[in-house]
């Protein structure tokens, strides 16, 4: 084996091991720290400098070059603006999905190839299967099902995977990743996981959104009765299934079952079996198929959140939209979330949830 690999190194344990494995496999490895966000928010100091210091430790101990790529402009434009705009419209978007499409397998990959990379690599838990006769390589779930990240990769096209390496694809557990890092003397071995949105994770979505959008007082309405139960400070701050932050002052635990951002209303219910919390049909928009071609109609398994259960559904591909009809009703999914379609372990692609039919 050989060739030049540019590997995205975040300062975390997964990308550290990815880089180490590539070095051991004989590639010429260049580590790249993508700086996507460095702004502090109220009550939250962005840890990018510490993350970079950890990435530097990895590069020094592996004896490889490290470059810092300033991707903040692209990230702002394609991820942050998209996220804010989606929330403003009452959607619950997934930033990681966009970041993988536009930054990691967009800006980063393009620049790496233009700089002479033969491959790009990341510490994603995902697997690339060789193409079937004449086709393109396929994306499949990682050996470590509990950490599988294909849910975040459905918008990346097959052509990108032709020159992508996922060194963690066969590692069975996260514990194994940590052990392999410790074995190699990589100090990040014990660094805690940073699941979720890099900048929203520690600060909380609320702080992030209130930095970008104006508060607007509105009613919290009981779904069953239409009674006004209280006030909220912006329907865009709430998502389906949410329990916290409602401030209804006692009474039974209530869940958000729907939001209407145009009228600025948040609907809640105390009933966990409230029909609005369940659905059997999802309509998808902005659909992408990794191979470029829609799959045949029929039965597939679908995931509507990262590492969530795989549920059986019938796929119907129309001219404008794709419909998923679930065999059993599933917990409601907020518009804006991703629904990702699998055939066995192979990730076929997916779409953004546009509409759900209420009921079970």
């Amino acid at each position: 084996m050989g060739g030049v690999v540019f590997v995205g190194v975040s300062g975390g344990v997964d990308s550290a091991l990815a880089a180490a494995l590539l070095v051991e496999q004989g590639y010429e490895v260049v580590a790249v720290y993508m700086r996507n966000w460095s702004r502090d928010l109220p009550g939250f100091a962005c840890p990018w400098a510490e993350d970079l210091a950890d990435a530097e430790r990895v590069a020094v101990s592996l004896g490889i070059d490290l470059e810092v790529w300033d991707c903040e402009e692209d990230y702002q434009r394609t991820v942050v603006d998209y996220v804010v705009d989606a929330y403003a419209r009452g959607y619950t978007p997934n930033p990681d999905v966009m970041c993988n499409q536009t930054i990691k397998f967009g800006t980063f990959a393009q620049m790496a190839f233009s700089r002479g990379a033969d491959y790009v690599s990341t510490g994603h838990y995902a697997r690339i299967l060789p193409p079937e006769a004449g086709g393109a390589p396929r994306l499949a779930r990682a050996a470590c099902e509990r950490k599988d990240q294909t849910y975040f990769l459905w918008r990346v096209g097959a052509e990108a995977f032709e020159r992508v390496l996922f060194p963690l694809q066969d590692i069975p557990t996260k514990e194994e990743v940590r052990a392999l890092c410790a074995e190699r003397g990589l100090e990040v071995a014990n660094k805690p996981d940073s699941d979720g949105i890099c900048f929203v994770g520690p600060v909380g979505l609320r702080t992030f959104l209130l930095d970008a959008l104006e508060r607007r007082a509105g009613d919290v309405v009981e779904w069953e009765t239409g009674a006004v139960l209280g006030k909220h400070d912006g329907a865009f701050l709430f998502t389906i299934g949410q329990r916290r932050g409602l401030n209804l002052g006692g009474g039974p635990a209530r869940y958000v079952v729907a939001t209407d951002c145009e009228r600025n209303v948040v609907y809640v219910s105390a009933d966990r079996d409230c029909p609005a919390l369940w659905t059997d049909t999802l309509t998808l928009e902005d659909v992408r198929w990794i191979s470029g071609e829609p799959p045949a109609l029929g039965a597939y398994v679908v995931r509507t959140r990262h590492t969530g259960p795989l549920r059986e559904a019938q796929l119907e591909v129309g001219a404008e939209q794709v419909t998923l009809r679930f065999v059993e009703p599933v917990p409601a999914v907020a518009p804006g979330q991703s629904a990702v379609v699998y055939d066995g372990i192979v990730c076929l692609g997916g779409g953004i949830v546009a509409r759900r039919d209420v009921g079970r």
Binding site: A49, R57, S61, D65, E67, V68, F108, M111
Partner: protein, 388 residues
């Protein structure tokens, strides 16, 4: 693994004498010095005794010493005493530069060795400047400034204003945090109007410092409240901190002659051995011993990225700074190195090796060997910032 600490300019370990002297005031003598009952008076006495000893050590009267939470606060307090334009050197500490910016700073350039341009300084103070602030010694490249000459310029300008009936006051402030313990910080021989000191650089506690001011200076408080420190710095007095600071400064002054000589020899050894091991090393700062801090060596290795080098050294137990810690986090070359005209390629590979009381010849021998080896390994390893 052997471990060698060579970053005394960033932090110093407290001595047992300092620790022991502070110990009673955390718990046994915990009283608020302002409380009216007898036991509290012990705390008050200890605090005022510490102030008197600090004043004595710098050749001043206790009433002119204001205790603060560190040197940064003392610098802020000094700048708050004036409203008009201020003059600073281009290689001041961030706390001075930030305060100066808020006042409309006139920044005076320095020569290659870091010594402030006195001609430019004279021009900058003329007319309406109210404060000149130049550190006694620079913490990154070790330059000791000709403070007496700067004081002469300030006094000449005062005379000129007096003759022209210009009532604008003009004061000279110096941050002597890095200098104390290495050179004299006697205020009358320095000829300054205000001086900042930090306990943290003197083997004393962190977040303890002082601002001395001459009689003519009118300080204005930044921290308002119960009116402690003559109303100049409210907040319950840090008795333990002040006591520790006093012992630390006295110890530093007692050890200073012998320790300075010893450190000077160690620094000479570092320069000689580094030059032998890495012939292309670039040293910055003045070349005359009298013009530089005894225990500090600023060394640059062109083609090496200092941040990587620091990590490589840390892995071998050698702890060295890159200079200005704040500048390090954004991957920009430090303002000090820019000001002395060091090219970016050279500046990027800079280490600040600062030695102190616990540094031995064996430490230096080990550190040099590790630095030479790591420079060799890291040379040519890139660490670039690219705009994507």
């Amino acid at each position: 693994m052997k471990s060698v600490y060579l970053d005394y300019a960033a932090a110093t370990p407290m001595t047992t004498q300092v620790l022991d002297a502070m110990a009673p005031y955390w718990s046994e003598q915990f009283y608020n010095p302002s409380a009216p009952y007898a036991p509290a008076r012990t705390a008050r006495r200890a605090f005022e005794d510490a102030r008197a000893r600090l004043a004595h050590a710098i050749g001043a009267r206790p009433g002119n010493v204001t205790l603060t939470a560190g040197a940064t606060e003392a610098n802020n307090l000094a700048f708050a005493s004036v409203a008009g334009p201020v003059v600073v050197s281009a290689i001041e500490h961030e706390s001075v530069l930030a305060c100066a910016e808020a006042h409309g700073a006139r920044v005076v350039n320095v020569a290659k060795d870091g010594i402030v341009d006195l001609v430019a300084l004279r021009e900058a103070v003329a007319g309406d400047a109210e404060l000149v602030s130049v550190s006694l010694a620079n913490g990154e490249i070790g330059t000791i400034q000709p403070l007496r000459a700067i004081g002469d310029i300030v006094r000449e300008e005062r005379m000129r204003r007096l003759e022209r009936a210009n009532p604008t006051p003009l004061f000279l402030h110096t941050d002597a945090s890095q200098a104390a313990g290495h050179i004299s910080v006697n205020v009358s021989s320095l000829g300054v109007d205000m001086m900042t000191l930090s306990a943290a650089k003197l083997y004393g506690p962190k977040q303890v410092g002082l601002l001395w001011h001459a009689d003519g200076v009118e300080l204005r408080p930044l921290v308002l409240g119960g009116g402690q420190e003559g109303g100049l710095r409210s907040g319950t007095e840090n008795v333990a901190g002040a006591v520790g600071f006093a012992i630390a400064l006295e110890q530093a002054e007692a050890l200073r002659p012998a320790e300075s000589r010893r450190l000077r020899k160690l620094a000479a050894l570092v320069r000689m051995e580094l030059r032998k091991a890495v012939p292309y090393v670039v040293f910055s700062g003045p070349s005359q011993d009298a013009r530089r801090l005894p225990g500090l060596v600023h060394a640059s290795f062109p083609g090496v990225e200092a941040r990587r080098l620091v990590i490589a050294l840390e892995r071998k137990g050698v702890y060295v700074g890159t200079g200005s810690a704040c500048a390090a986090s954004r991957m920009r070359v430090s303002h000090v190195l820019k000001a002395i005209g060091l090219s970016e390629d050279v500046a990027q590979g800079s280490l600040r090796i600062s030695m102190g009381r616990l540094t031995t010849n064996e430490d230096i021998a080990y550190a040099i060997q590790i630095i030479a080896k790591s420079v060799e390994e890291e040379r040519g390893r890139s660490h670039r910032e690219v705009r994507a």
